[in-house]
């Protein structure tokens, strides 16, 4: 009996050409088609600002070029802070936080992998820490640290600027995430690496430091950068404590001038900050993927 799955035994030459309608967008016509569809989609999105009843108001309140410029350079005569002067605060807050987050995150991940019985309380603490700090909204952590530490009235801890409390809060919060990312990286290192290192007589600590962590961190660089992008944005939350940074300056601008274009400027600042990082992360991930495909 002849089955349907049998190989084609006829001598007919198969037709390999795509049907006409699927040949429409090949070559130059493809480029034209993609340009046209892009223009239409983006045009539709922007048109929302023009066809909606409140469109004109929104354009005036959020995208007024003159007000945006004033928000950017400030106006000392009426006591307006310049958004550009707030940039420094955001930048140092996230730079310092990122360094602290990385070291604290690695330490926490390391502690959770330690086996020494002496470390048991620290292991419990580290687990508790990551559970709690991952579960509490960043804004609340900022507020609790920012209002809590001064109230403690405990030496230098209680006499810092809002930006410093912001750094502490962001560090506490993001270290919990980053320690989990690093832990995932540690889990991703093949068990054979541990066996090889231990069988060379390396101690648990040396194995971690020389063999496991270097590989773990390399694999988690893209997710790590993702967390850092998120951290950069979240410096805006510190405005709640009164730190004069970009968002705060923008808020003051809109409260004084009754125009929200300052918020747009602040948003553009954060985009200028995060987009290069996002692109870089994407490129790293693509390279990582290509390398993995090549090696398998």
């Amino acid at each position: 009996m002849k089955l349907k799955t049998d190989v084609d035994s006829s001598d007919a030459t198969p037709n390999l050409f795509a049907p006409r309608r699927r040949r429409l967008f090949v070559g130059k016509r493809g480029i034209a088609a993609s340009s046209l569809s892009t223009a239409i989609v983006f045009g539709l999105i922007v048109s929302v600002l023009f066809v909606t009843p409140g469109g004109a108001t929104v354009r005036y309140a959020f995208f007024n070029p003159h007000e945006m410029w004033v928000a950017w350079i400030g106006n000392p005569r009426i006591g307006l802070l310049a958004i550009r002067d707030g940039i420094f605060t955001n930048v140092w807050m996230f730079l310092v936080s990122e360094v602290l987050v990385l070291s604290l995150g690695i330490s926490i991940a390391w502690i959770r992998f330690s086996q020494s019985p002496v470390f048991l309380p620290f292991r419990l603490l580290a687990t508790l820490y990551t559970d709690i700090l991952r579960g509490v909204p960043t804004l609340l952590v900022v507020m609790i640290v920012g209002y809590g530490l001064p109230t403690l009235n405990f030496g230098f801890l209680s006499h810092q600027s809002p930006a410093v409390y912001g750094v502490i809060a962001l560090t506490l919060n993001y270290s919990a995430y980053v320690s989990e990312v690093i832990r995932a990286g540690i889990f991703s290192v093949p068990h054979g690496q541990l066996l090889a290192a231990r069988s060379l007589g390396l101690t648990q600590t040396s194995t971690m430091r020389r063999v496991i962590l270097p590989q773990a961190i390399r694999t988690v660089i893209p997710p790590l950068l993702n967390d850092f992008i998120s951290l950069q944005k979240d410096t805006a939350l510190v405005s709640i404590l009164g730190a004069i940074e970009v968002t705060r300056a923008a808020q003051i601008f809109s409260a004084t001038v009754f125009n929200e274009s300052g918020l747009t400027v602040a948003a553009l600042f954060f985009l200028a900050l995060t987009i290069p990082m996002t692109r870089y992360t994407d490129r790293l991930m693509a390279r990582d993927r290509a390398r993995r495909l090549a090696s398998s």
Binding site: G192, L195, A196, S199, L200, G201, L202, T203, R210, Q215
Partner: protein, 244 residues
């Protein structure tokens, strides 16, 4: 007979309900080569890992140079510095260059100065003809080259005993020869080795002692001539028929 390096006495190892080693006893003397043969899952790898304290045992005892490794005062890291281990999957460190792979043990486990260990590491690479690849990363080497680097990496620790866990099983057939040649070379130079292998001809050539394991039981042990030419046990005979 010379000094006993490794001695297993009635070693039992379980993973949950699964008894992987059921009372295995064997002795390995200095400058002796013993080959463990048996089907996959017979317990060869587990036995090697137990000897290296990478696994704990559930019964019996293992001693190295007459010192019982079950003693609580034994430092596993010190034990492992005297025992080299080579794995089926090479397990070279991908983030380190070839030379740094070899130097890791001497520098960070033996706390030797990098500059002192460096020349010896180069000499080891010279011996396997890979001196000019010292600064490359392992992924740039062929499987056979990687495995030979892994072997000299464990030699850099100047171990008293080398454990080899099916070191040619993951290799392309054309690359098996270069690795076996290196091991034969080591055997002729008097390196004490315990080798789990599926390469019967190699085992016959280099080993003084052949140990046949089946389902965690040591079925038969003896000289290559006894095991390969005059096996006493039916199980041994059947196994050898299947692999030939």
């Amino acid at each position: 007979m010379s000094e006993v390096v490794l001695e297993l006495d009635g070693v039992v190892k379980r993973f949950a309900d699964n008894e992987v080693l059921r009372g295995v006893s064997l002795k390995l003397h200095r400058h002796e080569v013993a080959c463990l043969i048996g089907a996959s899952g017979s317990g060869k790898s587990t036995l090697l890992r137990c000897a290296n304290l990478l696994e704990t045992i559930d019964g019996g005892s293992i001693s190295l140079f007459g010192q019982p490794l079950g003693d609580k005062r034994i430092d596993p890291d010190l034990v492992r510095r005297h025992i080299g281990m080579v794995f089926q999957s090479f397990n070279l460190f991908p983030h380190l260059s070839v030379i740094d792979n070899i130097l890791l043990g001497p520098v960070y486990a033996l706390k030797r100065k990098r500059a002192d260990a460096y020349d010896e590491a180069l000499a080891l690479l010279d011996r396997i003809g890979l001196r000019d690849r010292a600064d490359e990363y392992p992924e740039r080497l062929s499987g056979g080259q990687q495995q030979r680097v892994a072997i000299v990496r464990s030699l850099a620790m100047q171990p008293s005993l080398l454990l080899l866990d099916e070191v040619t099983s993951a290799l392309d057939p054309t690359l098996v020869g270069e690795v076996l040649d290196l091991l034969t070379d080591l055997a002729h130079n008097g390196t004490t080795m315990l080798i789990a292998t599926h390469e019967m001809n190699f085992a016959r050539d280099v080993a003084q002692q052949i140990v046949f394991l089946e389902k965690g039981v040591l079925v038969e042990q003896g000289t290559p001539d006894q095991i390969f030419n005059h096996p006493r046990e039916v199980a041994t005979r059947k196994f050898l028929e299947r692999v030939r």
